[in-house]
Amino acid sequence: MSVLKDIGAIAKGMSITFGEMFQPTVVENYPDGPGPFKGAKFQERFRGLHVLQRDENGLEKCVACFLCAAACPSNCIYIEAAENTEEHRISGAERYAKVYNIDYNRCIFCGYCVEACPTDAITHGHGFELAAFNASNLVYRKEQLLMPTPAPQLQR
C-alpha cells in the first residue's frame, strides 16, 4: 500500500512542477524591464540608496542636526551646516546642510540614520545599482541624494 501512497505523493508533487512549468515566468525582467529600476521590484521596506526629502513647500527637510551622522555605526555621513537667511533659504528651520555626503563604501544600509532623523528628511529609497569602478565615486553628495525637484507650482 505504501508504494501506491508514495506514487501518489510524487504525482502530486510533479503535478505542481509541471503545472508551474507552463505558467508565465515570474522572474523579474531586470535589467530589461521598464522604469527607473529596470524592472526590479522591491518590498516597500527595502533599504536602498538614501533620498533626502523636501517638505510641502519644496524646502529641504534636513536641518543639519547631525543626528544621522551620530547614529551611523559605520560613520559614513558627513555634514557641514550653515545658517539660512531671508534671501537664501534652503530648509524650513534656522539651519540647513550645506554639505551632505554619504560614503557608500562604508554604508551598511542599517537604517539607523532614518530612525534617528527628527524631521524625516533622510529616507531609504530603492536605488540599488551602486557599483562603481572608482571608490571615490561612491561618496554621494547632497545633490545626488536630494529628492529630484520641488513640487512645480512652488518652485522658486
Binding site: V63, C65, E80
Partner: protein, 792 residues
Amino acid sequence: MVENTQLVSLTVDGKKISAPAGTLLIDACKASGIEIPSFCYYPGLSLQAACRMCVVRIDKMPKLQTACTVPVAEGMVVTSESDEVRQARKATIEILLGNHPLDCPVCDAGGECELQDMTFTYGAAESRFMEAKAHKEEQQWSPVVFFDRPRCILCYRCVRVCGEVMDVWALGVQNRGVNSVIAPNMGDHLECEECGQCIDICPVGALTSGAYRYKTRPWEMNHVGTVCTHCGDGCKTTLGVRRADNGMEIVRGDNRDKSGINGDFLCIKGRYAFDFQQHPDRLKQPLVRKDGKLKPATWDEAFDTIAKRFNAIREQHGGAGFGVIGSTRTTNEENYLLQKFARSVLGTNNIDHHRTADYPAFAAALAGKPEMAASLRDFEKTPAILLIGNDPTHQHPMLATAIRNNVRLHGAKLFIVNHEGLKLRRQSKAYAHIPKDGYGKFIAFLGGDDAVASALANGHTNREQLMAMREMLRGEHQLVIVFGAEVRGKDLETLVKLGMSHTGVKFACLGDYANSRGAADMGLYPDLLPGFTPLADAGDFAAEYGASLPKSAGMDLEKMVDAAKAGKLPAMFVVGANPMARYNVQLGELKNCFLVVQDMFLTETAAMADVVLPAANAYEKSGTMTNTYGDLQIVRPAGDFAGAKPDLELIVRIADRMGVAPQSLVPFGRGTRADMGQSRGAQSGEADRHAIWMVAQGIEPKVSPFDPQALLDEIQRLVPGYGFSRLNLFAGNDVPTHTAGKGKGAHQDPELIWPANDTLFTSGTLGRYSNTLNSVVEAHEGKRYPTQVETD
C-alpha cells in the same frame, strides 16, 4: 567660599558623608559623588532657588527642600533619590516643557543641554498640555548675543553672572510670574562688555552666540585646550574646531571645564575673536619683491632669496648689518630661537620687540627674591590688593574678574591708584585719583615722603584721603601690589624695594600682549640674554651656542628703525610685529634695507618687505607662553590654515638655507623615536596624548627640527627661573616661573615702553582682522573707546 574648616557629618541616601560647616547640601553631595540636578544653582553666584530641580527629602522637615539653599547640619538625614523626589522633579520638567519648543534638532544647545539631560533622566517627554505653545521670534541683542525666548527656563543664571561676576548688570527680569522674561538693559538691545558669559552659563539654548550659532553641533567638533592669544592674562580656552576647505576652522571658544587660571571666564576676545584665523586677507603663500612689486613665489624661491642676501650681508657687514624684531604673540620657543638665531647665526645684538612693560626693571628689582612675584592665582584669595595704574577692565579683563570675585566672595580689600576713574572703583575700599604724572610721587609718598602729598592731592582726592589710604595699606600684611606700564624704571625699583621691607607682599607687573612676558623672558633685548641675563654674564649661553656671541649691546627698536631709514641697516628681520606702523614709516622711506617679514597679514611693515613669509598664529601651533604674571602654559594647535607655517619652522628653514646645521639651533634628535600621531589638523589631540604619555614615561619626542619641545628642553636648562614641573605643564596646568635678574639689570630706557592701550574690543593687529570685534565696535559706535595704531 567656606573658610570654616569644622566638619559636620550627615547621611545622604544611607551614605555617611562629611563637609565643612556652612557648605550647601548640593555642594556637599557633589563632593561625595552624589549628583543632585540643578538649573538655577551655579557655584559662585548668589542663591536663587528658582527652578526646584534640586529638591530632596530631609528627615524631620515638612516638605521637600531645595538642596541648593540648605546648608549642611550635623546629623542631617537626606534622601536625594526616591519616588517622591523623582515625581517632583518630573513635574518640574513637565511644566518647564509646557511652553518649550521642540527645537532640539536645530538648537545650539542640543547635545549639551541641561534640560535635555534632565528630560532624559526624569522622563517627562510626553506633554499633557493641549494648548498651542506660545511662540516668540528670536531677538538679536548685540553682534554676539542672541536670545530665543521660548527656550528660556528662567533660571536667572545670566542675570546673576552679568551682574555679580561681570559687574555690568545689563540683563534683568521683566514682569512677574508666568510672564517673566529676561530683558536687555537697552530695551531691545544690549550695551555691555559682550563677554558672552551669559551665553556660556545658560543651561539651555536660549542665549546663543553670533559666532557659533547654527554652525555645527557640540559633538561634531574637535576640542583643543590652549591659551588665549590676546591680552597678557593668558586665559585657558577650549577651542572647538571643525574641518574647513583650507584646514581647520575655529568655531567656538569657551572654558566650560573650568580648567586653568580663569575658571569659566573668558572676555569677548578669548571667546569670539578667533575669527582672524580664517580672515580672507590671510597670506597663503610667500611673497618676493620683483621689479618693485611683491609677487607670489614658491617657498624655495623665498628661502633662497633670504639666505643669499643674509649670507652676503653677513660677509660684508658682519652682525652689525642686521636688525631683528621679535613678537609679543609668538611662543617662548620661537622667541628663544629667534634671539639664538640673531646672536649665534647673524652675530648681532640688534634685537628688540614692542615693549609694553618694564619687565627688566621688575626682574632686577626682584633680584634674589623671585618668589615675591605674584601669580594670577594669587588674586583669587589674597586679602588685599593695591592696583597702581592700568585699567584691568579693558586691558586685563581676567585680572579684573579675579579681583571682583575676590572682593565679592572673600571680602578682599581693593586699593586703587589711578589718574582716571576706573570701573573697578566700584569694588574699591579706597581710591586715589592722582595726576597723570603723579605715579612716581605717589610711590615716594607711600615710602613716607609727606612733602609730595600736596602735589598729589587734586580736585578728586585730598591729602587726608591719601594719608588714610597709606595708613590702611601699612596695616595690610598680605598684599599683592599690581601695577601697569605707568610704573617703570626708577619708580618701579623704589616701589618693589619698599614692598620688600614688608613680609607678605607680592608684585605683579602688567604687560599687554599674550606673550609680552615671554618675549622679555626669552631675551628679545639688545642688552639682555634670556632670563634677563646681562651680556657680560653670558656664561652658559656662550658655552651652549658655540659661536662667539657679540659682546656689546645692540640697537633698540627705535634706533633700528632710524638706521633703516637712514640707509645704515642693510637687513632687517621682523617676526610677527608691525614696527613701521608704530613709527609711522611710509612706504619707500626705508633705504637700502633688505626687509624680511613673517606675518599672518600684509601689515604696513609686511607691505614694505622684500620677502614676506606667511606665518601661523598661536592657535595653530604648539609651544608654551608665559602670561604677564609669569605663569607658563602650554599652547596646542587647534586651527589649521593651508599655506601658513609656524614661525619656528620658518626660522629653522632660513637658517638651514644659510648653511647652518639645524641641530646647532634646535637640539633635536636626542630623544626616542616613536609614533607620535599627527601633529596637525583633525587628529592633533592625538599628538598631545602621546606627548603626555611619553613625558610620563620619561621619554620625550624631539625628533624633528621643528619640534618646540626640543627648544623647551634648552630653555628649561639655560634660562634662569624656568625650572618648572614639566609633567604639570604638559598636563595642561599653569606652572609659575620665577625670572629674576642678578642684581643690577641693564638700565632700560623707559621711553621705549609703549603700552598697547587696547580696550575690551581691540587687540592690536589681530583685532583689526577680527570681524566680530569690529562689528562690536561698530555697534557701540558713538560710545567708541579711543583707538590706537596697532603696533604689535
